[in-house]
Symmetry: C2
Subunit: 198 residues, 2 copies
Amino acid sequence: MTLPSSLDELIEALRCLPGVGPKSAQRMAYHLLQRDRRGADRLASALHRALDTLRRCARCNTFTEDEVCDRCASPKRDPSLLCVVEMPVDLNTMEQTHAFNGLYYVLLGRLSPLDGIGPKELAFERLLARATDGVVKEVILATNFTNEGEATAHYLSEMLHARGVKVSRIARGLPVGGEIEYTDAATVAQALIERRDY
Amino acid sequence: MTLPSSLDELIEALRCLPGVGPKSAQRMAYHLLQRDRRGADRLASALHRALDTLRRCARCNTFTEDEVCDRCASPKRDPSLLCVVEMPVDLNTMEQTHAFNGLYYVLLGRLSPLDGIGPKELAFERLLARATDGVVKEVILATNFTNEGEATAHYLSEMLHARGVKVSRIARGLPVGGEIEYTDAATVAQALIERRDY
């Protein structure tokens, strides 16, 4: 008296989604079958289409349907500024700020020796070639402020400095609207150390 | 400088899943494209297959690939006991107890006048016909103990009693392993009222 196999397969397949365990997968499967068959059909087609059409931009590694993404191909962006981020999703967040008009390079990861991810796995030599192509004047490191993101930024800065490339790191400090009373000590300390002339 | 359209469509399509907002949909899309393309492909195929092959059991309303589900067709189940549940997922939970060997009827909802769901929308006459077919000896109401589930059980019990059908309701009380100190007063009160001879 088990579930029909196609229902069972659907529940199992839904577990490939991050954060979805057996209970949520079951709830999702029933929801789709009972309440949103059109949505399920659209999702299946969107998955197939995305797998078929999306590939890596040859210049920045983000997802695109063309050889080079719109951003890298745009004459309106400043190619002398190169912002290095860990993931495509970080790039999206940076873009939402409308505060940056340069180009990007997506590492697709971060240094993580314990997981066997080193400079070779992240193809740092490709980034180095890009940064020393004569067009790029400054590399802005925008990896996360986690231990691994910091280690990655440190490694990259050493590597790029050795080639005479100008390197900067995005600032740490209090968030906009932040109150000192409610900010952790490490962040306040960093905000003090990285204080700016006013 | 927006996202490629097939990526955008995928993120949008993932939002048909219950509990998935724009941020999680984005995270899911990137996860699938970067880390689990095989899973994404399997999910797309499983969705299409489930939509193609699954339909309602003609007897109990649960999902099946055949005209009548395995359970309803089984000679090992006791057809004189009919358990009424709100949703297919409730049926699964009941089955996992291994405490019931009768058959089921899935309402596919609950009475909810504010949402325009009345006895007609839930096709109560179909259940009535089933309960009075001469085979069923007892109807066990296993709708939820929410306001709507209780109202549904009450309505069904009146309707079935009027036709002389024996009706029962699953018990309320403390959960297995439950401690009185940590149980809400309403549940303890109900456990007192529905106490059994010992």
